[in-house]
């Protein structure tokens, strides 16, 4: 008895905008957090999709296939040299050699916060400040931080998607949180 032939999916570019633009856009903006860039990446995804349509074998669904193109675009985006956003250098907070290796650098030692901080956390404007501070991080840090902390995506999934190891992820998270802490402190907590 022969096994039934697997379903072969087809492409229908005329319906891409209606069927997938919202899905792809949302997928992008939660990683990039920028409307214009997300829109551009979705557009590039559709264009690349058209160009490589002849290579579509029909094994995956149209949506899965488009997402795989988009994922590569997103990775390319964050690998690109940091432009205006994400220019902040990653500060070193610990000595990285010598007998003090791993200790806090004196001027980077965390300072105590004023007693009002807990009340300030409830403030809605602070939520916006988080975005401003995350945008100052290097792109890769910003994306890993957003996915892990704001989107609460599993570590394994992020590592797979971005091609990084879990120890690499934790170093990024650690540095991102350090930098954000400083940014929030300068702009909010100590004001």
């Amino acid at each position: 008895m022969s096994s039934p032939s697997p379903i072969t999916h087809t492409l229908d570019p005329a319906k891409w905008i209606d069927n997938y633009s919202d899905y792809l856009f949302r997928y992008t903006i939660i990683r990039i957090n920028d409307h214009e860039i997300s829109k551009d990446l979705v557009q590039e995804t559709f264009f690349s999709g058209l160009k490589s349509a002849k290579n579509f074998e029909g094994k995956a669904t149209e949506r899965t296939w488009l997402i795989s193109i988009l994922k590569r675009k997103i990775i390319d985006h964050y690998r690109k040299k940091n432009s205006k956003k994400g220019q902040a250098e990653v500060r070193m907070n610990f000595y990285n050699d010598g007998e003090n290796e791993g200790d806090w650098i004196e001027e980077r030692v965390p300072q105590s916060w004023d007693s009002e901080v807990e009340k300030k956390i409830e403030n809605k404007e602070l939520q916006h400040q988080i975005d401003l501070c995350v945008d100052k991080l290097p792109k890769k840090y910003a994306m890993v931080f957003r996915m892990k902390t704001i989107q609460e995506v599993d570590t394994e999934v992020i590592c797979k998607e971005l091609g990084i190891s879990s120890s690499n992820l934790w170093v990024i998270i650690h540095r991102a949180r350090m930098q954000l802490r400083k940014c929030l402190e300068d702009n909010w907590f100590n004001n």
Binding site: F25, F94, E118, R177
Partner: protein, 89 residues
């Protein structure tokens, strides 16, 4: 054995960050507690970090709530539709 339990502030704060997501191992947490005995700075860092986690969690909740309504505008979609039609001839 004791050497293994001895960690730097850099390692301690990394473990602290990991544990904000509930992903620090039991052994990591023991090392962190031992580090706390001799390091008040990292104790303070941890307390502040817990507050920040609370803040980020509320940000996560608010962001997810708004997320479903994120999309391109009708106009942007129409521009894109025309571009796509041009390419697809």
């Amino acid at each position: 054995m004791f050497k293994k339990l001895n960690i730097t502030c850099n390692q301690a704060t990394t473990i602290c960050d990991k544990s904000q997501y509930g992903e620090a191992s039991f052994f990591d947490k023991i090392k962190l507690q031992i580090h706390f005995i001799g390091c008040k700075i990292c104790v303070m860092y941890t307390k502040q970090n817990v507050l920040l986690t609370k803040l980020y969690k509320s940000k996560a909740t608010n962001t997810k709530r708004k997320q479903d309504s994120l999309c391109m505008t009708h106009q942007e979609k129409e521009v894109l539709r025309k571009e796509l039609e041009k390419q697809n001839v």
